[in-house]
């Protein structure tokens, strides 16, 4: 529960404009996204913070502000953010590409699909290959594939780009592919694959698969979500998503049993 007085939106907008104080900007960018601000200055000011990424070298404080701005732009759902976010898919900074993809997934704008898809078209060996000396893959495949599924524009090209990742060696990448393929095709056999991952020995994989099932809105997953060896809080998050997609009162009943 809030222990401090709530910040006022006008103040937050003013803080976001103060480029001399990146820590105030950092918090302001987060706040606007969290509060789903409708202030007319919010999106223009958030977009302005992205300019800092064009300089070499990028100032690390301003990079942090820009990351929060990218996340906020995803939450605010303003179509003006689409082109600037699509441009960030070309960034040499892996995290920028990852966060831009997540926010584009939230915007659900079909025009972003070709740019996102292009980054995974080189397949599991290239885009999905490991970077040397790093746990990261060459591309933020999980975020990119999830974004394609969330946007929900099904085409032969998109399916062909995602399908190889259903055989990726990493279970969370496979989960992202199953999730997107279920969202795009409605074919429940992908959901069955996700349910299989709920039995994975690693809790991290079980949690990921659980949230992926929720995101698909596929009500066939309800009982498997309830039965999974995952903490109730996460089951509730997954079921919330299921309930909001399906509006099925059965899902509310399952949630009542978990609270």
């Amino acid at each position: 529960m809030a222990v401090t007085a709530p910040l006022n939106e006008t103040q937050v907008i003013a803080n976001l404009g103060m480029s001399a104080d990146p820590s105030a900007q950092y918090y302001a960018a987060w706040w606007l996204g969290k509060m789903r601000s409708r202030h007319p200055e919010a999106v223009p000011l958030l977009l302005k913070t992205l300019k800092a990424l064009e300089q070499t070298p990028v100032d690390q404080d301003r990079r942090g502000v820009a990351l929060n701005a990218i996340r906020a732009l995803g939450r605010l759902g303003n179509p003006a953010a689409r082109n600037p976010l699509c441009e960030l898919l070309n960034s040499t900074d892996y995290t920028m590409r990852e966060e831009a993809a997540r926010s584009l997934g939230r915007l659900r704008d079909p025009a972003a699909v070709p740019g996102i898809r292009r980054l995974i078209e080189s397949g599991t060996a290239v885009a999905g290959g490991e970077q040397t000396g790093s746990p990261l893959l060459q591309e933020p495949c999980e975020a990119l594939i999830e974004a394609l599924g969330d946007i929900g524009l099904c085409s032969a090209e998109t399916l062909a780009a995602i399908r190889p990742f259903a055989n990726h060696p990493r279970p969370l990448i496979r989960a992202a592919a199953y999730r997107a393929l279920l969202q795009l095709t409605g074919d429940s056999s992908w959901g069955v694959q996700l349910i299989e991952l709920l039995k994975h020995p690693e809790a991290l994989v079980r949690r990921g698969a659980l949230l992926d099932l929720g995101a698909t809105g596929w009500t066939g997953a309800g009982s498997a979500i309830c039965a999974a060896a995952v903490e109730p809080s996460l089951k509730l998050v997954a079921l919330r998503s299921l309930a909001e997609h399906s509006e099925d009162p059965q899902v509310l009943r399952a949630m009542d049993a978990l609270i």
């Binding site: 529960m1 903490e231 809080s233 949630m255 009542d256």
Partner: protein
């Protein structure tokens, strides 16, 4: 004095290293349904392992209201996960001795999962006799507070809880008015989270108060 079976089961728990072994050892302890196992089962709640904690929680619930005083004493204030499970056990046992702890958890706990479980407890504590009018008022006050929580899941639990109290308890007229007003607010567009609106609408439907 613990029985030989319980002592053996404790030893098995101490030797366990994997989740599967911990779950089996905890199941073995829980299946004995021995009140002496309560402290150990409470300790297991703090292992930060949901599969194991779930088994221990069920074991404690099976031991019944006799574990309530031990739960109140052994609550580990520093372990969020453990606290959530303890509040869950108290909420499930519906023992009125848990009221103060549940009220406190709802008002002061920073973990939404703990406030959520506390809200459920306030909805379901057994308060059947008329002497409990004050406790019922406190439960309803708690549910009204939960309905204004920052976290959606606590507001969801409040909608569930207000429905239950209005359906099954002898709630005073003015409290009923406040509860219905809150449910109407949670079902309206002033509530951001769709699933909370859906749950509050369902509550109003079941109460024939749309």
């Amino acid at each position: 004095m613990a029985t030989a079976e319980l002592t053996a089961a404790f030893a098995r728990l101490n030797r366990a290293t994997s989740t599967a072994e911990l779950v089996q050892a905890t199941q073995a302890i829980a299946s004995l349904q021995d009140p002496e196992a309560a402290e150990t089962l409470i300790k297991v709640l703090g292992f930060n392992n949901p599969a194991v904690a779930n088994v221990a929680t069920e074991g404690l619930i099976r031991l019944g209201c006799a574990v309530v005083p031990k739960l109140l004493v052994n609550l580990d204030a520093r372990n969020y996960g453990a606290r959530a499970w303890v509040v869950k056990v108290l909420a499930t046992l519906r023992d009125p001795r848990g009221l103060e702890l549940l009220e406190h958890a709802l008002q002061a706990d920073i973990a939404p999962s703990v406030r959520r479980a506390a809200t459920r407890g306030l909805a379901e504590l057994d308060l059947n006799n008329s002497r409990d009018a004050d406790a019922l008022r406190r439960c309803c006050d708690g549910l009204l507070l939960a309905g204004r929580d920052d976290e959606w899941v606590v507001r969801y639990a409040a909608a569930f809880g207000l429905e239950r109290r209005l359906q099954h308890s002898n709630v005073s007229g003015s409290m009923t008015d406040q509860a219905l007003a809150l449910l109407r607010q949670l079902s309206s567009s002033s509530e951001d989270v769709k699933v909370v609106r859906l749950r509050a609408q369902l509550a109003l439907q079941r109460l024939n108060a749309e």
